[in-house]
């Protein structure tokens, strides 16, 4: 792929990731639509500068690292008997706060579902909702990784 193509792809993928309306010329990217909150993502990109040229990637990495820790806590709480719903709610609340940092919309929605079950004291429902959270979480990770890779490639192509 030549530089221009790469850059275009990056731009398209980016807009697909954050915009509601999928780009018609890239039907495959429809899947990425609505994953991230535009405002938040754009703001993160704005923070990128010479000092931190890969700031967004840095933040995403940090997010996923911390998510692992929170997920572990949630899993432990789900496994324990009796299930401590207050604790579960607390952990999920922390995670939800974390998702707001990168603006992960779909993940957040699943978190809200989880909260409903939690409030209702439905352990099974919580477990199911948690699976969905993890799924969305992973999907987003893949999308973002691809995005960053493309971006890097486009950046490298520029310097060539």
């Amino acid at each position: 792929m030549d530089r221009n193509q790469l850059q275009r792809q990056v731009a398209l993928m980016r807009s697909s990731l954050i915009e509601q309306v999928p780009n018609p010329s890239l039907p495959s990217l429809k899947l990425l639509v609505g994953y991230l909150d535009e405002q938040q993502f754009l703001q993160l990109e704005d923070l990128q500068d010479d000092v931190n040229p890969n700031f967004v990637e840095e933040i995403v990495t940090l997010f996923y690292k911390d998510s692992a820790r929170l997920f572990h806590n949630i899993e432990q709480a789900l496994k324990s008997r009796p299930v401590d719903f207050a604790k579960l709610d607390n952990y999920m609340h922390q995670f939800r706060g974390s998702t707001s940092s990168i603006g992960a919309i779909k993940v957040k929605n699943e978190c809200n579902q989880f909260k409903e079950f939690c409030l209702a004291g439905n352990a099974e429902g919580c477990a199911r909702a948690f699976q969905k959270v993890k799924q969305e979480h992973e999907t987003l990770r893949t999308q973002l990784e691809t995005y960053f890779k493309l971006r890097r490639q486009a950046g490298l192509a520029e310097t060539v």
Partner: protein, 576 residues
């Protein structure tokens, strides 16, 4: 170290603002750090509340503001907030993903100066410096007020002219701030930098120190507590009364907050319920005061029996009156005198605020604006501070210069501020240095009577206003009320507070505190008042009160049924 820290910072303010960010979420911590750095702030991050508290305690005066998340594993964000408020007196901003009203309310109740919702936007962080600025302003005012009162007393005794603001301020840095010769906007910047560089050593209230404080308070009895008593009991040599006073205020707010949470009762007291002034300061009802003030302003001390309950009406009527003829009953001079006296008297009676300053302000104000009570509606509207009215009144009356001079002479004995006041009309500089700082800022109807300076363009008025403000806390509040209905609650509470403070009555402490809580953001207003009161009485006893002061007393008495002799009249004669 403080100097080293603050000087460069103050020049470029708000750049270089020293922020401490506390959040258990590492992702957000990193984002916030980056955002704050982009705002040119100096950032320190902390993942744990306990770490943050330790940092704050260890390194005193190293941070300007704290931003903290509400939900943290090791300590509740609200607890941290309270600790910081009580011990370090720093502005604290809370953040959370949860924006529920009850949570936000809790934050405010615990003393947060702002509550941000996550995800946080850059623009929200850009403006956090205002909280630091605001606090500085109030601190300065408090200091100034305190200082000027003391100074005023000294000056009066010596009969020296109040020509140099610097005299009033014992803090060197504040001097330049006080020299508010011009009330221009750049004044604000200058003031701020002065303020920030003013090394008022910030007292860090360690747990130990706070314990001593609480013990002393409990020993004295919360009702009878006062900064001086506490200070004496605590027996901490390096602690000043002022430190205690401001901490006491915060403590009161804290307690009242706790109480509120328990009671959850409405705190609004109708301040309009006039009580018959028992002839003592404490009991003077706000409305009385207001009425009295109006009396003074409009009628050169004509003892008007204003119905307290309708003080508002009075206010309105007064306001709507055309500039009251300075020539009311006897002569202009007498009026101005009276007005001044009345004003002064008010100060005296209320005592809470810097009486000296007030006098000065009055003096100066009177010549030009003698309508104390009269405040053109328009002007009031502009002001959102309780004292607006007063100010307007002042501007309204254009007294001939000679009067000013006369007043000046007679007021010689009055604190320096008076001097200034005389030249005041022509000067944009506020006669009361303490108020000077007000100019800079903040039109907020803070009760800090010391400070409600509306951003008036009329320097004279402002000057006067300032002077007036402290003097007639109640009055102004009332007037403001009339004109600023939206501030009603505040004013009422402020008034109440003032009264309470003035009288040092503990009975009203509860409501007072509530009000304070609402009105003050950790100001040491109450404290200053307390301090002032003490100072004030000293002042009076010293017999510093000149003819003029006596006049004021008399004037006040008119309104308050004070048993005074009509020295005022005697003085008036002199004036003639």
């Amino acid at each position: 170290m403080e100097n080293g820290f603050s000087s460069p910072r103050s020049d470029a303010f708000p750049a270089g603002l020293r922020v401490l960010v506390v959040d258990d979420d590492p992702t957000w911590l990193r984002i916030l750090e980056k955002m704050l750095k982009k705002c040119s702030y100096e950032v320190t991050t902390c993942g744990l509340a306990t770490d943050a508290l330790r940092l704050l305690r260890e390194r005193k005066d190293v941070f300007d503001i704290v931003i903290s998340d509400v939900n943290m594993p090791d300590m509740d964000g609200f607890k941290l907030l309270e600790h910081v408020g009580l011990e370090m007196d720093l502005p604290v901003i809370m953040m959370s993903v949860d924006g529920e009203t009850s949570r936000v309310m809790k934050g405010v109740q615990h003393g947060a100066c702002d509550y941000l919702l996550k995800p946080i936007r850059m623009k929200e962080l850009k403006n956090i410096w205002q909280h630091v600025f605001r606090k500085k302003i109030h601190e300065i005012k408090d200091i100034e007020n305190h200082e000027s009162i003391i100074e005023g007393m000294h000056l009066t005794r010596n009969g020296s002219d109040y020509s140099d603001d610097g005299h009033l301020l014992s803090v060197d840095d504040l001097t330049s701030v006080r020299k508010r010769k011009d009330m221009e906007k750049n004044h604000d910047e200058k003031d701020f930098s002065d303020a920030s560089s003013a090394k008022k050593a910030r007292v860090v209230w360690s747990v130990d120190l706070h314990q001593k404080f609480v013990k002393a308070v409990n020993q004295i009895g919360f009702d009878k507590v006062g900064p001086k008593k506490i200070l004496d009991l605590m027996n901490v040599p390096w602690l000043t009364r002022e430190n205690v006073a401001s901490h006491l205020q915060k403590y009161r707010l804290y307690l009242s907050r706790l109480q509120k949470e328990k009671e959850n009762s409405g705190m609004k007291h109708s301040d309009a319920s006039p009580k018959d002034p028992p002839g003592s300061f404490g009991s003077i009802h706000q409305s009385d005061v207001v009425n009295s003030s109006y009396l003074f302003s409009g009628n050169s001390l004509l003892p008007r029996t204003v119905d307290p309950s309708s003080h508002e009406d009075d206010l309105k009527s007064i306001i709507s009156e055309p500039v009251m003829e300075p020539k009311r009953p006897p002569v202009n001079l007498p009026d101005s005198h009276k007005t001044k006296n009345s004003q002064m008297g008010f100060n005296r009676s209320f005592q809470p605020l810097e009486s000296e300053v007030d006098f000065a302000a009055f003096n100066s104000g009177i010549p030009t604006k003698s309508y104390w009570g009269e405040v053109p509606d328009v002007q009031f509207g502009q002001e959102h501070t309780p004292f607006v009215h007063l100010e307007n009144g002042f501007t309204k009356l254009p007294l001939p210069d000679p009067l000013n001079h006369v007043n000046a002479d007679s007021l010689q004995s009055i604190p320096c501020t008076a001097e200034r006041g005389i030249s005041g009309p022509t000067k944009s500089k506020p006669p009361c240095p303490e108020y000077g700082s007000n100019q800079i800022s903040d039109p907020s109807p803070k009760v800090s009577i010391l400070d409600p300076f509306p951003q008036s363009s009329k320097s004279n008025i402002v000057n006067h206003q300032r002077a007036l403000e402290p003097i007639y806390p109640c009055t102004s509040s009332l007037t403001t009320q009339a004109s600023c209905l939206s501030c009603t609650a505040d004013i009422e509470s402020a008034q109440r507070d003032v009264l309470n403070l003035a009288s040092g009555s503990s009975s009203t402490l509860a409501s007072f505190e509530d009000d304070l809580q609402v009105l003050f953001q950790g100001d040491s207003y109450g404290d200053t008042l307390g301090v002032r009161n003490l100072g004030f009485s000293d002042y009076i006893d010293a017999g510093l009160i000149n003819e003029v002061p006596i006049h004021l007393y008399d004037s006040l008495r008119f309104g308050y049924e004070y048993p005074c002799d009509m020295t005022e009249y005697a003085i008036l004669d002199q004036a003639y």
